[in-house]
């Protein structure tokens, strides 16, 4: 289901970019150009599979696989709708309902850096290597901020279980109202983790040709591209789950039509999807708004500004909970 979001997002990004720059964007393949990613995909698959000279072939092939694996796996724990009871069986509309869901997300997404690092190293190209190194240092730095902001949210909701976190947020008690600082930190860290502008130094094309995927072509390059867009979808889904009430928000509509359990699940799923799409639009919007940071600026922002703020936020949250304010 959400795999299909990634190619759509490629098209979406190009259309929104064109809209922001007062152009038309891809509009030839299919109605309003929506089949453009299909054409791109076919082109990528039919390209020659080549390996650069002196590259480590196994690792070179493995790198995009790791990237894809990680971005697909994180999505497994995000709940799309409340548990549905059909014929006495309770179905969970998520792949795996873990009671340490949030930790699982952090653990798996911390592996994402391997794909980029290995890709950069195994291509045997100095630009790729530099891109890989930049990516790894940037992702390690911002992972801390992300973990700390998530820790404050988990403290506030009192559980690691994503399904329970979403349940607590019903009735517009959204996380973003109670944890605005966490949301801001998570947003910045998410931009940095997905290597998007203004944090796209790992592939800064003006300095590094193409960064870690300079030597990649065909579907292996497609794998990296796909993983990047999937990452954005996953991170938007995480933000919706943690801060925007997950699948809550359209209860008035299900009450209006007096929905059956299944229809209710569909309505909840649409609420989740609409919120995710709005956040995706935001991601694209940011890309065409801000210029790229300099490398030292990114490091300073990560370690000297965002990390202290996130630790302070965690402390304040802990104290407020201790005094019984929440």
């Amino acid at each position: 289901m959400f795999i299909s979001m990634a190619p759509l997002l490629v098209w979406f990004e190009r259309r929104v970019a064109a809209f922001i720059q007062d152009r038309l964007g891809p509009n030839r393949v299919g109605p309003i150009g929506i089949l453009q990613p299909v054409a791109d995909g076919i082109k990528l698959i039919f390209k020659e599979e080549f390996f650069p000279a002196l590259s480590n072939k196994v690792l070179y092939f493995l790198a995009p696989c790791i990237s894809l694996f990680v971005s697909l796996f994180v999505f497994a724990v995000i709940p799309f709708a409340a548990p549905v009871e059909i014929n006495g069986k309770i179905l969970y509309p998520q792949v795996a309902n873990l009671n340490i869901g949030m930790l699982y997300v952090l653990a798996i997404s911390s592996l994402g850096v391997y794909g980029i690092m290995i890709g950069g190293w195994s291509s045997n190209n100095k630009y790729s290597l530099l891109g890989g190194l930049r990516a790894s240092s940037q992702m390690i730095s911002y992972e801390l901020t992300m973990g700390m902001s998530v820790a404050a949210v988990v403290l506030f909701f009192g559980t690691f279980d994503l399904q329970k976190i979403v349940e607590t947020q019903s009735g517009f008690h959204w996380g973003v109202i109670f944890q605005p600082v966490s949301f801001f930190l998570f947003l910045v860290a998410a931009l940095a983790e997905s290597n998007r502008v203004p944090f796209d130094l790992p592939e800064g094309e003006t300095e590094l040709v193409g960064g870690y995927h300079t030597e990649y072509g065909g579907m292996k390059f497609g794998g990296f591209l796909f993983a990047e867009y999937l990452n954005i979808v996953t991170l938007s889904g995480m933000m919706v789950t943690l801060f925007f009430g997950g699948y809550n928000g359209l209860e008035w509509f299900s009450n209006l039509v007096d929905a059956s359990p299944v229809l209710n699940a569909v309505i909840q799923f649409s609420a989740f999807s609409i919120k995710t799409l709005l956040l995706l639009f935001f991601f694209v919007w940011v890309r065409w708004t801000y210029p790229r940071f300099r490398y030292d600026q990114i490091m300073r922002l990560g370690w000297k500004i965002l990390l202290p703020i996130s630790i302070g936020n965690l402390l304040v949250t802990a104290m407020l909970i201790y005094w019984g304010v929440f």
Binding site: N99, I108, E143
Partner: protein, 169 residues
């Protein structure tokens, strides 16, 4: 279930052997990651989900990334590295390996590990409110001193690293 245990154990041991036999430090480090991943899988099979997640998060996700980062940054020539770093202290490594081996044999021979000790089984943990609760209540009551001492140890390591890095060459 048992076959998963055997499979992951075999994979962990095999990749651990690969760690010490590969010449290229980056390949070794990646095999070490695989070993850690297999250990996490074993923790999952033991129903210790929290430890499994932390294992991946801390070791595979943070420590090993830093290792590989440093190796890539130094870009060491594999042949040179063996000569420079692994030739001189051979006696020391042999002695410490023997000591570790002797210690492990001692523990096994004296039957200190019987598989029955301890009082927290998965069933009781689930009844007591989940792994996180069981783990943190133990950590912040019974083992509080050890926990705090460990954090001071880590702090000392950080300060030491900063001092070493900031020293004028």
């Amino acid at each position: 279930m048992d076959w998963f245990v055997y499979g992951f154990s075999a994979l962990a041991i095999a990749s651990a052997i690969m760690v010490i036999t590969r010449r290229n430090p980056i390949i070794s480090a990646l095999y070490l990651c695989l070993t850690l991943f297999c250990l996490a899988a074993l923790f999952v099979l033991l129903e210790a989900y929290f430890i499994a997640a932390v294992q991946v998060l801390v070791y595979a996700g943070a420590v090993m990334v830093l290792f590989i980062f440093v190796i890539m940054l130094l870009n060491l020539d594999p042949e040179k590295m063996i000569v420079e770093y692994f030739q001189t202290p051979r006696m020391i490594s042999v002695i410490s390996a023997l000591l570790l081996f002797g210690f492990l044999t001692f523990v096994f021979w004296t039957n200190n590990i019987t598989g029955e000790r301890g009082y927290d089984f998965p069933v009781q943990i689930t009844q007591g409110g989940g792994h996180l609760k069981a783990m943190s209540s133990k950590l912040f009551t019974t083992f509080l001193l050890a926990f705090e001492v460990t954090s001071i140890l880590l702090l000392v390591a950080i300060v030491g690293a900063v001092v070493l890095a900031k020293r004028k060459v």
